[in-house]
Symmetry: C2
Subunit: 395 residues, 2 copies
């Protein structure tokens, strides 16, 4: 398929929250406690509960050549306005021919760790709800049909998590971010029943649980002194760990309809991993006492997980082994692994030789099905292609 003819839905992008984040969705009594954006010494930071939270450069390098990447803290005027301004974001999506996008949070962290550390949990819950309302009702709703809403959870209390999942599901939110390893955040691991109220609410409402790399606030490291390239290389493998945890835990068997999206984990390692879990099951189940009944672990994994890639030919080549219905695409705007503004050309090259019906599943149909997202309710299909969207970019 030609780049121009693609329809692209990205299941992993990022929003750099604007200074106006808490202006419109927070009860008056909490406004004085909300994080405040402050410009100081040439950089923008958030202040919250006496702490200063910087923006990190690699979070928002879209539009810069790799030669200029760095990890310095930065300011709003040093990054593309599409990072934080919703109208400019849609312009940047159009420039890249991207129809739909799911945006992960930045300074509040992947599963709202910022609020989980607050002493006043009533305040924290109100701030978190305001965050979700801003994300759903303002960031996503301004341009109907262009975004897949994604909530953050009050991770300190599984019952509150369940309540929040149900509250935002009622207004159309179909995804929530969680941690790829809550144990590393100091919360209980996923092998017991601590998280069951949350998982129950997600299953009941059809809410997909997204596990993004970095959502345990830790990185895979091999040794102190290792070059940072080691960490960058291995980071996606944290989701192989997370998938292994979930697969061998009781969770997937206890919640047969629960869906997980492994965000920014790539796909090329999956043929190996799916084969490996079946081999482990065949060789070791008699003494490890795992029981998947009539199924194989690989099939259970395929029934519960959706994967995504930016650039990953190994996964495309072995798509049949992974499951053509399990693969989605991500742009990662505005982070340093993003293909913006050349995503269509990158995707067309990655999917060269793949039949059109399979291309469509990977580039948008799987994302629509998994996240129950219907951009075509707001825009006819013929105006959703790369070429149509690029034609809408104003000069």
């Amino acid at each position: 398929m030609q780049a121009d003819d693609l329809i692209l839905v990205s299941v992993d992008d990022h929003v750099v929250e604007p200074p106006t984040l808490f202006d419109n969705h927070l009860p008056e009594k909490w406004k004085q406690f909300a994080p405040k954006s402050v410009h100081r010494d040439g950089i923008d930071v958030w202040e919250y509960e006496g702490n200063t939270i910087p923006n990190i450069g690699l979070n928002a390098v879209a539009g810069r050549p790799p030669e200029e990447y760095n990890i310095e803290p930065t300011s709003y005027d040093m990054i593309r306005s599409g990072c934080y301004d919703i109208d400019e974001r849609v312009q940047d999506m159009n420039r890249d021919g991207v129809l739909g996008s799911m945006c992960f949070p930045s300074f509040v962290q992947f599963c709202g760790q910022l609020f989980s550390k607050s002493k006043d949990k009533d305040m924290a819950l109100n701030l978190l709800r305001a965050y979700n309302d801003w994300h759903i009702d303002e960031w996503c709703a301004t341009h109907p049909g262009r975004f897949i809403p994604l909530s953050i959870p009050p991770i300190w209390d599984p019952q509150l998590m369940a309540d929040e999942v149900r509250r935002v599901a009622a207004k159309g939110c179909t995804a929530v971010t969680f941690s790829e390893n809550p144990d590393k955040l100091g919360w209980p691991h996923i092998f017991g029943d601590h998280w069951d109220p949350f998982f129950t609410a997600c299953q009941d409402t059809g809410t997909v649980i997204c596990l993004h790399i970095g959502s345990s606030s830790t990185q895979i490291t091999t040794a102190p002194g290792a070059p940072i390239d080691v960490m960058i290389t291995l980071t996606p493998i944290s989701l192989m760990n997370a998938a292994s945890d979930l697969l061998w835990s009781p969770v997937l068997r206890k919640f047969p309809d629960l869906q997980f999206a492994l965000s920014e984990g790539g796909t090329g390692w999956l043929p190996y991993w799916l084969e490996r879990v079946d081999y482990v099951y065949q060789q070791h189940r008699f003494w490890t006492h795992q029981d998947f009944g009539d199924e194989l672990p690989s099939q259970v994994a395929k029934d519960h997980f959706t994967f995504c890639f930016i650039s990953d030919r190994a996964g495309v080549d072995e798509r049949a082994a992974i499951g053509i219905d399990n693969i989605t695409w991500e742009c990662d705007y505005p982070h340093s692994d993003s293909t913006w503004p050349n995503s269509p050309e990158s995707v067309a090259k990655q999917l060269d030789g793949v039949p059109d019906d399979e291309v469509n599943k990977i580039t948008y149909e799987n994302a629509m099905r998994v996240f129950r997202y219907d951009p075509f309710a707001h825009r006819p299909r013929e105006r959703a292609t790369v070429s149509a969207l690029r034609a809408e970019v104003r000069d």
Copy 2:
């Protein structure tokens, strides 16, 4: 290729050291200090420096059905005599149609950790040399052409390591075991120049450095309470970590002829990893300051690493991406992932549809080249096949 016609060289098996280990190769003055095999309460243990070292059941389950696997300590009379008796080992190799084998150590640990903990390092060095002499001159030499010798290093001193590599190279040893992550053993990491004397000796003598899973005495774990299946699933990935460490470190560029074998790491993850390291290089090298000159990291990896698999169809399918000259096979006798005594049938199934010349590279030619191992100096090729070896098994 039919199972009967295969020629099989396994680059990863294990020896359970016999009680006679130190009988013939240790100067008299050290004999009283040598580890002693003791039978007590129905199990066999080693006693050394006041410590008791058990055998672990999963080390030696060859011949048992998976239903009977367990991790209990065990005794010599509970395991196949091929685990520790060299004549019986060759019989078991013949039963499995395996021509050649490289055997990793058991109770002294993968890189001789047992001796590295000794207070008297002069004694430890003498014991370690005796171990290597037993391995090379007794275990491997009893049946010429059937084994690839493998030494253990005095890991506490890189100059002694270099001396020992040169000493055993002079009598034909072409491989040494090292740690996939020495930092986790309490030794310096591989990013500085601490290990340079060792690496220099290995490069000078053409000695291949084998990095076996478990050789850092640690496992990949995700959280306390994780089912052991998680650890079993993820263990091979420790060698993706090790390969990443070496690739992004100065080692491979500083020692252009140095060769590493990743032992029991599998191959199916390699297409992903090779693509990933090039993507990381392309996207991030300007700020991480990596420089591979005119090459890509993936090519440097292929120039320095040999991989092996037990059962890993994902790697076979993508063998062109991995490099057909980089793939070897392992039996893992007598451990619980082993295919013994049905290795030929397993390999034939794994390699179904692969052209004969590529089958031969994977099953024996690559191992012969990398380890400079020539079984045909002792046995004509037509008597080296699975069917010929199986015909030699005495009843």
